[in-house]
């Protein structure tokens, strides 16, 4: 990453920012300061324009939030001319007002419909009693509708009232269709005060007559409400249709205006990061070193020699302030997605993407390791590749899946597996490593890969620390050497390597030990032990692989054990499908874990700030 300073005539500043936004190469840094230099100030017109843009943006956001989604919408890149602002502002305001009014009306009607339906259920349940009370003023009604779980409280109230009112008056409970429970009390008006205190004591919410029907008994109010239910349904459908029409008419233009509005606002905000003298402007920012020439070329093409790009010396900025851009060859780029799950590496430290691009598919293939599954995975990757848009996450998944499939095929050939043990009958060669039987060899291969991976991590850690923390770098290096020496000694002790290597390896370990303690202190020893744990953790590659091959073997044996060929094939296919699904998920999670926990731990230094160039808005408009 390079830090550059752009210098030019002050009157060019209004044209420079749109140009930089078009190029999308420069991440703006804080405005440079110094004698005679001051941050560029917004003019009164700029401020007015910014306020208006913000207001329009708020109105557009509110209008779109209040309208139903219209899809699909093509993203717009067209510029909103200043002359169009008043019209867009008016349209945004009008649409917002209409959309919010319609949304509020729809909410009110929906609420009314819901509550009327509840009254209707009550009316259906207590039709006769409610008609009786509508004809006399000697009775008062109290109605309660509560969720089914509060039935006990309702029952207690009903018992309390029934005990005091006697059989002459109605106390009735009824289950409503939606699971609620209703209670209706028909009580003497003369004694209503006495019963009211019992009702209040129960603490249950009483069903009130809506304000529009205030003063009427429930028996009269409910039929009136039911008569309106049809009107409510019609009005609701009408409002819904009006909202849909408004959304269809207004959304495309509002969405089209939103992106250019954001870009215009970003340009106005960017002015705060520019500095001016009476005659010149200065802008500082970060550009990937490879793109400096491109920035110069484009500025020269648009502004001639009037704008100068000055490369600032590296020691004038602290590396922590520099943003981080991961730049990898096309082949490795999809694997940046795996690295991006973690916080970005600090500026100046190692980008692990190339190592992930090699080891991740290798570990995946080592775990799944089956020619048949590999071919199926490759077919799925190709299908996803051609059905996805460039830059989409589906495309990234397809591009990661392809090398994983390749390694699955390679290891499938090594293990002699095609849909499990069927490979031993189908393949013309003998497996180099039979996972079903040679468990110890598979374990050794997995731990061996772990040793190589962890030692690579330690070497990267040593290289990464060398510039800043020499002692730590030496500690990492010595840990890597000790790891190899101890492994050599162990292998020599078990006579897998020549026994003559045992003594020199042990002596070398004893010599390296104090160096490690000197470099990293006593904690270095603990680190060494935990690094051994990290290496052993790679045994999961063998464990998952063995589980996968056993599942496949079970699928084949079960299929073969069935009396009917059709049932046997169907059962085997089902088992293989399950195994394939598990075989995709588990190796991905475990390979990720081995990278993040075991490998990255040795060298990865998180904390980088992502490179965010000043550019045109991207992404979905809605």
């Amino acid at each position: 990453m390079s830090k550059v300073r752009l210098l030019g005539a002050r009157q060019q500043l209004p044209e420079i920012l749109p140009a930089l936004q078009d190029f999308g190469l420069l991440q703006l840094a804080a405005a440079p300061s110094g004698p005679m230099i001051e941050p560029a100030a917004l003019t009164t017109r700029d401020r007015r324009c910014r306020d208006q843009l913000q207001r329009i943006g708020r109105n557009i956001d509110a209008a779109l939030a209040a309208l139903p989604t219209v899809s699909p919408l093509a993203p717009s890149t067209r510029e909103v001319p200043i002359a169009a602002l008043p019209r867009i502002a008016r349209q945004a305001w009008r649409t917002r007002r209409a959309a919010e009014a319609l949304a509020a009306r729809e909410r009110a009607l929906t609420d009314e419909r819901t509550s009327t339906r509840k009254y209707r259920d009550l009316f259906d349940a207590f039709h006769d009693a409610l008609e009786q009370v509508a004809r006399t003023s000697a009775l008062v009604t109290h109605a309660f509708v509560v969720p089914g779980r509060e039935r006990a409280a309702l029952g207690a109230l009903a018992q309390a009232i029934a005990g005091q009112a006697g059989a002459h008056y109605t106390v009735a409970m009824h289950d409503l269709p939606d699971g609620d429970v209703a209670l209706l009390l028909l009580l003497p008006s003369a004694e209503s005060k006495h019963f009211e205190s019992i009702i209040a004591g129960a603490g249950l919410p009483e069903l009130e007559v809506p304000d529009a029907y205030a003063g009427r008994p429930l028996g009269q109010a409910i039929p009136l409400m039911l008569a309106r239910l049809e009107i409510v349904e019609r009005e609701l459908a009408d409002t819904h249709a009006q909202r849909a029409v408004l959304a269809k008419d207004a959304t495309p233009e509002l969405v089209s205006a939103r992106r250019p509005l954001r870009e215009s606002l970003a340009r106005l905000d960017a002015l705060a990061q520019c500095a001016t003298t009476p005659h010149a402007f200065a802008i500082e920012g970060w550009v990937p070193t490879k793109a400096v020439a491109e920035l110069r070329r484009r500025l020269t093409a648009r502004f001639g020699a009037g704008v100068v790009v000055e490369l600032l010396a590296r020691d004038q900025w602290a590396s922590d302030a520099a943003p981080v851009a991961l730049t990898n060859p096309q082949l490795f780029r999809p694997f940046e997605a795996i690295v991006r799950f973690m916080p970005l590496p600090r500026y100046g430290t190692i980008d692990p993407t190339p190592f992930v691009a090699v080891f991740f598919p290798m570990m995946f293939g080592m775990m799944l390791g089956d020619l048949g599954y590999g071919v199926v995975l490759a077919a799925l990757a190709v299908l996803l590749r051609f059905r996805s848009r460039p830059g989409s996450w589906q495309r990234t998944v397809a591009e990661i899946a392809a090398p994983c499939a390749a390694f699955t095929v390679i290891f499938g050939a090594i293990y002699g597996e095609v849909f499990g043990s069927a490979g031993q009958r189908l393949l013309p060669w003998k497996p180099l490593l039979d996972r079903e039987r040679a468990t110890l060899a598979a374990l050794a291969a997995a731990v061996g890969l772990g040793l190589a991976h962890v030692v690579l991590g330690l070497i990267l850690g040593a290289v990464s620390s060398w510039r800043g923390e020499r002692r730590q770098a030496i500690g990492r290096g010595v840990t890597a050497i000790m790891l190899l020496l101890i492994t050599t000694a162990l292998l020599a002790a078990f006579e897998i390597l020549p026994h003559a290597l045992f003594t020199p390896a042990v002596i070398a370990v004893l010599v390296a030990l104090p160096v490690l303690v000197l470099a990293e202190g006593a904690l270095g020893l603990l680190e060494l032990l935990s690094t051994f744990g990290n290496v052993l953790s790679y045994a999961r590659i063998m464990a998952l692989g063995t589980a996968s091959v056993m599942m496949a073997a079970v699928a084949n044996r079960l299929g073969g054990a069935m009396g009917s060929v059709l049932v046997g094939v169907a059962l085997a296919l089902l088992f293989h499908l399950v195994n394939f699904g598990l075989g995709l998920a588990s190796p991905v999670v475990q390979a990720l874990r081995l990278h993040y926990v075991e490998f990255f731990h040795q060298f990865y230094s998180p904390g980088g700030q992502p490179y965010r160039p000043f550019a045109r808005a991207t992404g979905d408009d809605r």
Binding site: F341, T439, L443, A539, R540, Y596, V597
Partner: protein, 75 residues
């Protein structure tokens, strides 16, 4: 009991206890992870990885069980 039966019992115990320990740790991490996901769905990858971390115990239990069985059969 024969020597092989003892070995098989030991292997089963090792695997079973390692699996229980893993399951206990994963239950705690899983519950906390589910609560975290309710508020920050963007952390799903990290949560899946955190849940996968205690599996080391299960893996090591599996390896030890395999070694016990291999020694018992003299492979």
């Amino acid at each position: 009991m024969t020597g092989y039966a003892w070995a098989a019992l030991s292997a089963a115990l090792v695997m079973g206890m390692a699996a229980l320990a893993t399951a206990w740790a994963q239950s705690k991490i899983g519950a906390a992870g589910a609560a975290t996901l309710a508020e920050k769905p963007e952390l799903s990858t990290i949560i899946v990885l955190l849940v996968a971390i205690p599996e080391t115990m299960g893996v090591l239990g599996f390896v030890v069980a395999i070694v016990i069985l291999l020694r018992a059969t003299g492979t």
